[in-house]
Symmetry: C2
Subunit: 445 residues, 2 copies
Amino acid sequence: MSKPTPLSGFPEWLPPQRMIEQQLLARIARTFELYGFAPLETRAVEPLDQLLRKGETSKEVYVLRRLQDSGGDADLGLHFDLTVPFARFVLENAGRLQFPFRRYQIQKVWRGERPQEGRYREFLQADIDIVDRDTLPFHYDAEMPLVVGDALRGLPIPPVTIMVNNRKVCEGFYRGLGLADPEPVLRAVDKLDKIGPGKVAALLTETAGATDAQAAACLELAAIAAPDASFADRVRALGVTDPLLDEGLDELVRVVDAAAAHSPGLVVADLKIARGLDYYTGTVYETVLAGYESSGSICSGGRYDNLASSGAERFPGVGISIGVSRLLGLLFGRSALTVSRAVPTCVLVALTDEDARPAAGRVAGALRSRGIATEVAPAAAKFGKQIRYAERRGIPFVWFPGADGAADSVKDIRSGEQVDADAAVWQPPAADLLPVVSAAVTAGS
Amino acid sequence: MSKPTPLSGFPEWLPPQRMIEQQLLARIARTFELYGFAPLETRAVEPLDQLLRKGETSKEVYVLRRLQDSGGDADLGLHFDLTVPFARFVLENAGRLQFPFRRYQIQKVWRGERPQEGRYREFLQADIDIVDRDTLPFHYDAEMPLVVGDALRGLPIPPVTIMVNNRKVCEGFYRGLGLADPEPVLRAVDKLDKIGPGKVAALLTETAGATDAQAAACLELAAIAAPDASFADRVRALGVTDPLLDEGLDELVRVVDAAAAHSPGLVVADLKIARGLDYYTGTVYETVLAGYESSGSICSGGRYDNLASSGAERFPGVGISIGVSRLLGLLFGRSALTVSRAVPTCVLVALTDEDARPAAGRVAGALRSRGIATEVAPAAAKFGKQIRYAERRGIPFVWFPGADGAADSVKDIRSGEQVDADAAVWQPPAADLLPVVSAAVTAGS
């Protein structure tokens, strides 16, 4: 076989990067569980008609067929997010779930996009959602950002800002302005960061039937942002009135106030946030990473009152999704994260000759039984070569079984210090037991 | 949308089952790391020509296409195991890896099989592999079963038996018998458990050109099994000689002896084990779960000397794969595993009225900061209703914030015992902190 080459859009991390990803995921999952979210995984595939029901991403769906298809199978596609599969799961299993149902889900998703920087065709998402039967209390909309803030705080990554808006604010405002169909307005405003206010104004007149004055008002609304409830007065000062606008402002104030009390600085109300997918009906979230603002949102979501419904059954929900691959891709791209070694191994047991392998295996077993990750050397080479095996992987300790009844000894190969040791009791320093992830010290910092 | 129905072959666990799966996976991953295996994930897709290179499963590959394909993309399929992608990864990244390279990989794989009991189209595998450049020491073949034994021991599942064979034993034996092409012989013998010795004998004469005496000898070899090195004498007693047979017997004895010293009873030499995939060149492993022997192997693998090679570069490997979905599917099918609650939550904070939500949130935050998973009640309903919310999910404790300066109290809703408590210091009993997975007590046991 010829030497394989990477596939554009399908990132693969080397083991040290995967170790960083795992520690990040463990922290995220642990935080989700501390908030009572139960774990769930759904299958990777959904019937194609489900995937094509909603949203702008439907054109990006990967369709599956069996190589030797004998017909009769439903048309299947790979899921492009975790919200649509979750809504389907809730409908399918409603009789076996307790509502309100809180779940988290950490899985790969796939989108057949044209690859470009920061856009992947396969990527990992970490989602939380809460759904209830018939109605879902609004306080859950305020809880979502707090969970994400807790999950990401304490990780060696730059701080995040969660930008919150509410579709009701936008739709009510547009309606109050006299623009009855909010969809083309939202789609135009959603492009603000990409194409700028001038072109958005042109789009609004072209695609949403707005007058110049209406377009200007939409842009004024989108320009409002504040870390506290003061945004509401600035919206009201624009002079547009509508009951839905009032309802949206009240909701958005509750989200901002709750976050300001729990995690000052975490959340801002930002009225330009629209979200492309059209299943959101109220609160919407986007998140930027400090220093990476131009790279787009690394954590998004919102309230969806109508996504999961079947006949008379309706399960409104709210959720938020951390784009784990997106986040790590940005940080890895600037070499911003580092891990203290390239393998889980803490101790390498050296070998004097191949006959000593069973005894070395018993030393390794004794260390492992106390939680110390241990390998035995691959061959009874010269000790210098065995030490280099450890060095190249960042394994901090090499264990030398004692010959002829002499005590074993263990060497810290960074300092060169070697001490007698007993595999039944020896402990490495706490900082060496597991690989440690930290922010990389770069020339610029 | 109409009520969705399950897709055959794509299992989905409810959250309590997923919690069981997660604890199993955590134990498996932790054991792999204790042995120094580094984590890796590869993309879900491989170029189709890679997937179709080897083995009988190629017809089962799921092929991907983008819904709106603009052409020019490579043909891609979903991986059907984790070994072929790993071999590709090693070739692609050889210059950035340290050899011997030990990695573990826990991911979904997909096979477009006709669904039947115990066969899935999407399932989770947990693999370890070790590859080296040019040659790989044989002692790694002996290490594989020990890692799996350690990973599964201590879990609340029935004991496993790992059955080991060696392709060199079979091929040398067949060659010594005068059967030059081992492939059709292996394929026939591989069907022994399914169709029985009579039909295998007929297959051997029909498809492998065997005489009745040769077929009988092949069946005699396949009938040999032993938990220790005694199998080798029984093979030699069949009177067939061949250098490859001798090499295979020596290797197989080393695997069995190492396992007998480390984990008595874990491994047996079983000379009928063949493995369907044709990339194995030496040791092969299969594993049965006590009480589920007829359900086939739940952990399989082997030595592959030629899977990863490109031009002059060659990376022989050995690996073993725990069929996590297969294993759990069997146990869930008999309701053999149970978890102490249906959610991670340990404490539900009750609410007297909605205005108390911020204060309840502070109690929850104090408990979470000390690792105690906590939810706040969804609404300020009557306490009886809030307690039923906890009961239905198996949440053991309900927390009552004290009114007007009175102390908080916490109630164990199983015993009814209620005590004053301070969220800054209260600890649940250790057994209640996290959900506990255990073997279910069934009527028959």
